[in-house]
Symmetry: C2
Subunit: 303 residues, 2 copies
């Protein structure tokens, strides 16, 4: 049984579907109650993981925890750093302690390739490069990685932190209100201007959520060694490039509403994914143009 | 005005005395009420920093916070990692937020050179080497460093984390029950066996608390750039070597009581202190033999 936290966010439902397609039994846990269709191989539980005890039945028969839940996004983490640290670390530590006590072998964590490094000292950034986050979000992600490493070294957990860059794809706006690509297409369709922070020169490592799900499955089902792995496209795209791509694909002009650059955003970052690719054979397969085209087609069909 | 937290521990009183010798006004804050003699240039306040607000009068006229307080030691941090994270991070974040709001320029933090690195990838270990702690204590120290770095980058704080190795000296057992050198001399004097973890081959970077205080003063009063600095002797001494030294100095045989090695202890660590030495001109001046001789002489005179 695989336990997925953050099951009502962007990544949780995508992972549950990926497990479903492989007939892997999954227990989906989230603070909100599950809405929408239930998958055949999935169970659903709703609770606050900040107070979960190792004896809780959600851990029955579980061999792997995939921890996707987060109480914050980078911008909101700065509103109350104590809340960010307390809630996210407490959640992770309770899950790790449950894993130790219940003999759960694997723990896969959705860390953040875009925030744990801060301003990268080189591009693409490697796992061994300095980690000096520019947001509380990045610090609590990093500290969670360290706790997972501690449990791996001391208690034999197979603890894997995936430093995920910027996934995009279907369902992105369902959970947290982030996701440039999704917001862009939504606003273009509605004929509304698109808000961006700074002048559009910010560069991020965008990749498709289906590629990410194949990576998570490899981490879950393979024999990947404990540790920290970058997962992303491995190359950067600026916001201005994404906007140009969206204009070409949608055939509509994109009106931009510029907001001041935020001090939590690093100017440019993309990930060196060589460690994860060498260990698993994984490669991202869906290019940005193809991904955005499909999203646009879906959006047009839905409305 | 300098604000010193953890004022009733090992390092707090030593720092208050160092400020006193230079007529620097100091406000000593601790959870416990101050006992013993009061210094002429010092004020004393007793409160729990985990709930301190920026408006608190302890921050009045303060230009520098020296944050020495900790709610745990490495071994106790493992008993309740949630308590360790919550109490230490909350304390640090409240002090940092007070510094930001009250315009306090400098923040000097007693980090831990012996725990933030985990098993060093090389010796002596450098500030840029990997940080994979083997204890919750090391993780909360590391996360605190990252918050200090965040406040430095975003809000212009002069935030300095001193990764201190293993200071020893007068007053060591007053606060926390750690300190091999102090315990060794106490037990030798009492004719009791000395408990050590493992076979005595563990190597640590011992240096005298007076050398540490000169380092802290340089960080407080100089123009040292924000960042992370190793501070220690810069070379290693095994427990067995310390025991042999103590036998020679005291003229008494030391009976050892061996306990199983602890999984939180790294086998060998000492620090490369080149970055701090180059920036400040600091050098440790008191050798281990001299330091232990003085401590032994004091102990004999006291009793």
């Amino acid at each position: 049984m695989k336990l997925v936290t953050g099951a009502t966010g962007f990544l949780g439902p995508a992972l549950a579907s990926a497990f479903e397609a492989r007939s892997i039994p999954t227990r989906c846990v989230s603070r909100q109650r599950h809405a929408g269709a239930e998958l055949a191989h999935a169970e659903y539980a709703s609770l606050d993981l900040r107070s979960v005890e190792p004896e809780n039945r959600i851990f029955d028969s579980v061999d792997t925890i995939v921890h996707l839940a987060s109480t914050t996004i980078p911008s909101t983490s700065m509103d109350d750093m104590i809340f960010d640290a307390r809630s996210n670390l407490e959640m992770a530590l309770r899950l790790l302690e449950a894993a130790r006590i219940r003999g759960i072998r694997s723990f896969i964590f959705a860390s953040s390739g875009g925030t744990v490094y801060g301003d990268p000292v080189r591009l693409p950034v490697r796992e061994t490069d300095p980690t000096d986050p520019r947001s509380a979000y990045g610090i609590s992600k990093l500290a969670t990685e360290k706790y997972i490493g501690l449990y791996s070294r001391l208690y034999g957990l197979r603890g894997i932190s995936l430093r995920i860059s910027n996934p995009y794809g279907p369902g992105q706006l369902a959970g947290t209100p982030i996701g440039l690509v999704a917001k862009l297409l939504r606003d273009v369709r509605a004929g509304k201007p698109v808000t961006i922070w700074g002048d559009g020169s910010i560069v991020r490592d965008f990749f498709h959520v289906d590629d990410l799900m194949r990576a998570v499955l490899l981490a879950v089902t393979g024999d990947l060694a404990p540790g920290v792995y970058n997962v992303g496209a491995g190359h950067g795209t600026s916001i201005n490039e994404i906007v140009a791509l969206a204009e070409r694909i949608t055939g509509k002009p994109v009106a931009l509403e510029y907001q001041p650059a935020r001090n939590i955003d690093v100017p440019k970052i993309w990930l060196d994914t060589g460690k994860f690719r060498a260990a698993t054979g994984w490669r991202p397969e869906i290019g940005l143009e193809q991904g955005i085209e499909e999203l646009w087609k879906e959006a047009l069909e839905r409305h």
